[in-house]
């Protein structure tokens, strides 16, 4: 079996709620465990063992939470937009359920990124909120997440709501490049990005390693949460399906 046909089969299998429901339990537990372990390691390392930063003292340590949250917020929106495109093109049920499951979680993560950013900004910039390109873009991202939820609730017909939300997510993704490149468009208070793919990070490696561990931990943990939410969606949506009933009967026994 070639790689192509393997990928095709994996794609079709993941697209089936039944197969996903059966297979995702192990993934969920694995991602939760790995995520929590990495967050513990990264946070204890970052909060307890890394020397204070020369200019910011100890207040920079919140960045071990802020940076992963901000990065996750963008990644989640892009993932939702990709799922939206998949749903619009192939009408794949799982893609739509993924959007419904991930949108509220993405909103919470974005809110966490904003809150930690404000807490960090107060001692570092001297004020919690500045009209800087990246803070504004993150706030906009929060509103985009909110818009997805609002639109879903406004349309009574579930399938039409799912299509409309998918289209809105795809349209809203134009905002992501602005988040990414806003730093180059305006030179404002926010420091230029320290970690870029393909370039040497301008952040000292003492700080980079715990940050990387934490970021990976948050990604795993949130992936686990999304899978859990997705499983709840599947149970809701497929409540009348035969396979789910027999699975539930097996659980009860």
């Amino acid at each position: 079996m070639g790689l192509g046909s393997w990928a095709k089969r994996a794609f079709h299998r993941t697209g089936s709620p039944r197969w996903f429901f059966a297979g995702s339990r192990r993934w969920m537990i694995g991602l939760y465990t790995l995520g929590i372990a990495l967050i513990l390691v990264g946070s204890i390392w970052g909060l307890g063992f890394v020397p204070p930063e020369r200019y910011q003292g100890d207040s920079f340590r919140i960045l071990f939470v802020h940076v992963p949250a901000a990065s996750l917020a963008q990644t989640m929106y892009i993932a939702i937009a990709v799922a939206g495109l998949v749903y619009l093109v192939w009408r794949m049920k799982m893609a739509e359920m993924l959007i419904a499951a991930a949108a509220p979680i993405g909103m919470a993560v974005t809110a966490a990124a904003l809150a930690t950013g404000i807490i960090w900004g107060m001692p570092t910039w001297g004020k919690g909120w500045v009209w800087d390109a990246r803070t504004v873009s993150t706030l906009v991202l929060l509103l985009l997440f909110f818009g997805l939820q609002a639109l879903r609730q406004a349309i009574a017909h579930p399938e039409r709501a799912a299509l409309a939300v998918s289209l809105l997510a795809v349209v809203g993704v134009v905002n992501i490049p602005i988040i990414k490149y806003s730093v180059e468009w305006f030179t404002t208070l926010h420091q230029p990005p320290s970690i870029e793919i393909g370039k040497r990070p301008t952040i000292a490696s003492v700080y980079l390693w715990p940050l990387a561990v934490n970021a990976l931990g948050y990604y795993c943990f949130v992936a686990g949460v999304v899978i859990a939410a997705l499983r709840v969606r599947i149970v809701e949506r497929e409540a009348n399906a035969e396979w789910l009933r027999s699975w539930l009967a097996k659980q009860e026994r």
Partner: protein
């Protein structure tokens, strides 16, 4: 092309025969300028082009609500979706008519708004120019939101929530381009680029959204 002009002509004719509705965005814009001027008093002179841009943006969102509502109610929209394939020229025609009625007048009135708010008249020309470039983008973006919400019976607020986050880059570059500062030329070019991008891609999204709203 004939579909484009037919749609444009039809929408303009309807607007001419029902003048009061077509005049609403203009009246709203002037009213908002009045309220801003009264609310700020003497401080109004210190406002930059940003204030007028924001008002134009609000007027645009409010105007967009009615873009498809009447067509949806009397079934014209369904006819358009059935007959006009591809949808692109028909949607573009609707957008063009909408802009001529609710975008162009705002840009044309912006020097008057600057005058009312005691702004510097030297800045009125670039402001008017950037509004001419920017309002079609706003119209195209708000049309996507209007198409998504057309059958829901919930216009106003929901439409604003959906569409206004997408306005951010237009506002940023529009205000940047209207200011006589470094980077204004770059912002003008970016605005023009966004205009081209919006006019070539947004009608597809609007058409898709309309099909979704009428499908079931």
């Amino acid at each position: 092309m004939s579909v484009f002009f037919a749609q444009l002509r039809r929408d303009l004719l309807i607007a001419i025969r029902d003048r009061s509705e077509a005049a609403n965005p203009i009246a709203f814009f002037l009213l908002a300028v009045l309220l801003l001027g009264l609310g700020l008093g003497r401080d109004a002179g210190t406002l930059g082009p940003g204030a007028i841009w924001v008002l134009a943006l609000f007027a645009n969102v409010l105007a967009a609500e009615g873009l498809f509502r009447r067509d949806h109610e009397d079934g014209t929209l369904e006819q358009m979706l059935v007959r006009a394939r591809p949808l692109f020229p028909a949607v573009l025609g609707k957008l063009a008519a909408h802009w001529l009625l609710a975008g162009l007048p705002l840009a044309a009135l912006s020097p008057l708004a600057v005058f009312f708010l005691h702004g510097s008249m030297a800045g009125a020309t670039p402001l008017c120019g950037t509004l001419l470039l920017g309002t079609p983008i706003l119209a195209a973006l708000s049309a996507i939101g209007a198409a998504l919400t057309v059958g829901t019976g919930r216009g106003g607020m929901l439409l604003a929530i959906l569409v206004m986050p997408l306005y951010v880059p237009v506002l940023v570059f529009g205000v940047g381009a209207a200011k006589a500062a470094d980077g204004a030329a770059f912002a003008q070019l970016m605005l023009a680029a966004m205009l081209v991008a919006a006019l070539t891609t947004a009608p597809f999204a609007v058409g898709k959204a309309l099909s979704i709203s009428q499908e079931y």
